[in-house]
Symmetry: C2
Subunit: 348 residues, 2 copies
DNA sequence: TTGTAAGCGTTATCAG
DNA sequence: CTGATAACGCTTACAA
């Protein structure tokens, strides 16, 4: 591997000058610059990130914390992949590479040994967190460190820690309102874990919109799932067993929505004729399933881009206060929420 | 940040001794070891990867090349995510972290500027490639460099480059045989791009199995897609327009299979009654769709683990020849390939 | 068993 | 505009 010293020797200048050329300093004669650049090209010179990092104390690398538990590897959640694409894109544009912390999955749910230490070890300039629990002690430690952090879908705050998240409250409202407009009045919720911010916010939005619409809030219409399909199936079975089952369900994730669809089908009922369904996320699955799933679209890549942007901004302006960004969502109407076929258009 | 020098001073020993302790050398008195370790703990000492890398010329970081084009970001392909999970898991166990090269997506299909340079820059010890084209010049350069590489689902070979791949030929054979056993005789293929190894191998397996079963190979029964749903839909439409449409379709990916299902449905026919379908991959979607999609299961995580293992092995034993591993696949039978309801059980 | 000291490949601070 | 040279934090002969 050719080093800056060799490059300097061949160019007939000092290493300092070569460094200046390489870093685009102004105070270098055009002639010298050209010569160094030409020889660098010839020798296929490649600088050493390690050496640079050592002396500048900056790595131009962003850490990605992404817990992949074993039961439900979060990396496998389609939504987080999109976020990662967004992060990767913006990071690339800004000249950062991504260090994916390869935590050996401990399987205990808190599989993130010594996050802060790993960040310091690699000297990552900032961190994007996704798929983690806000109450994971390691996550807490990280967010209270002085390393710039931005969490996705997680309200994590600290001196140098902010977050980006979708407007879950409004999204849930959109879903419920849409169902009401489709003629439904007994609207149930299959929610996410209320211990998560998205879970809690979607419940809140559901409840608030019910209020605005003058519909009663019923405890037995609220089931809690874990965002995955099986839990949606189970929750729907509970709802179907009710004395007065709902005629519509808002599920806090597309996967749970599809699980619910399967349970409805299994119970001999039909979507949307007997029960309308709206999901949340708009993952690929939503458009591929039949009937097509009406859902609240989250801008996954947008969240990723926003998160990376926020980290970079904190890097550039060290005294900016940590960002809190809420991204809008939109309703995507497909077939799963069509109004039931009625005999005549009586009544509003 | 506390450095090894400070740690040495506080411990009353030299930096060399501290280094020995930190690196688990044997020739250190138990007493010294304990003391250094204790003080390291107290000071929350964290070594510097940059400094280590600079002197040892090893980074303990594996590069991940994962092209995320814009039309079909490969990172979004559910299958590759699983591979990544596998890579991450094994890398973590072996003490490696992952550097995700954040290539600004150029959108020209070959969006991988100067891969070799980036690897050298970060001094990654090895590389796992996924979602890339074998004929991408940058990929070629990388595979002919002396950096240990392992490609996934791509037959890339070089002095220090090997690959891991599923047994696509056998998998296609399983699918076709299964369809025949389900009573189908006019079995079409919606293949992947033959320019890709999986595409070519699944076509080969299809063709060979047809031969073994004594079924004719018909050009008009072979359509080429791009592994994504829309292309499956389009291909199926072409097949349906044939004078003698197939009574079964083997699609080289689950997404294309689902696309095909939609086209069949749209044409007023039914799966599996009129046309049976078998996919490839067994992504989450396959079990969530109705009818459940019979498919050839690839072990995504297994491929990831195998790839990472292979890279690490090349690192440990520098003169081992690059690996070529073919992982088995298995048929997962669901509803989309049930035998058509027949009046009587006549004929084998 | 431990210490000394020479790098690893850069950047940055001085002078000149 | 350019050149010495001192760091950056660590590992590793080589000595002791």
């Amino acid at each position: 591997m050719t080093t800056i010293r060799e490059l300097a020797a061949r160019s007939g200048v000092s290493v300092a000058t070569v460094s200046r050329v390489l870093n685009d300093y102004e105070d270098v004669s055009e002639k010298t610059r050209r010569k160094v650049l030409r020889i660098a090209q010839e020798l296929d010179y490649t600088p050493s990130a390690a050496a640079r990092t050592l002396v500048t104390q900056r790595s131009h690398v962003l850490g990605i914390v992404l817990v992949t538990g074993e039961s439900h590897p979060d990396l496998q959640h389609p939504f987080l992949q999109e976020v990662l694409v967004g992060v990767k894109r913006l990071a690339g544009e800004e000249g950062y590479d991504l260090l994916l912390f390869a935590t050996a999955d401990t399987g205990n749910g808190f599989g993130t040994p010594d996050l802060v230490k790993r960040c310091r070890y690699h000297r990552v300039d900032g961190v994007v967190l996704m798929g983690v629990h806000a109450h994971d002690p390691e996550v807490q430690k990280l967010s209270s460190s002085n390393i710039p952090c931005v969490a996705v879908d997680l309200d994590l705050l600290g001196r140098r820690t902010g977050y980006v998240i979708s407007d879950n409250v409004a999204g849930a409202g959109l879903a419920v309102r849409h169902l009401r407009e489709a003629g439904r009045t007994r609207i149930a919720l299959i929610g996410g874990p209320t211990a998560t911010r998205p879970g809690a916010d979607r419940l809140l939005g559901y409840r608030e919109e019910l209020g605005r619409l003058g519909l009663p809030y019923r405890d037995d219409y609220v089931q809690e799932g874990d965002f995955y399909a099986e839990s949606g199936y189970a929750a729907m079975q509970t709802l179907l067993a009710l004395a007065e089952p709902p005629d519509a369900v808002f599920a806090a994730s597309d996967l749970m929505a599809v699980g619910a669809m399967r349970a409805i089908e299994h119970g001999g009922l039909r979507v949307p004729d007997d029960i309308a369904i709206v999901g949340f996320d708009d993952i690929q699955l939503a458009s591929l399933v039949r009937p097509g799933l009406t859902t609240v679209r989250q801008d996954g890549q947008g969240l990723g881009v926003a998160a990376a942007e926020a980290v970079v901004r904190m890097l550039v302006k060290p005294d900016v206060s940590p960002p809190v960004r809420v991204l809008p969502v939109e309703l995507v109407v497909r077939e799963s929420s069509r109004a039931p076929a009625v005999t005549a258009g009586v009544g509003g």
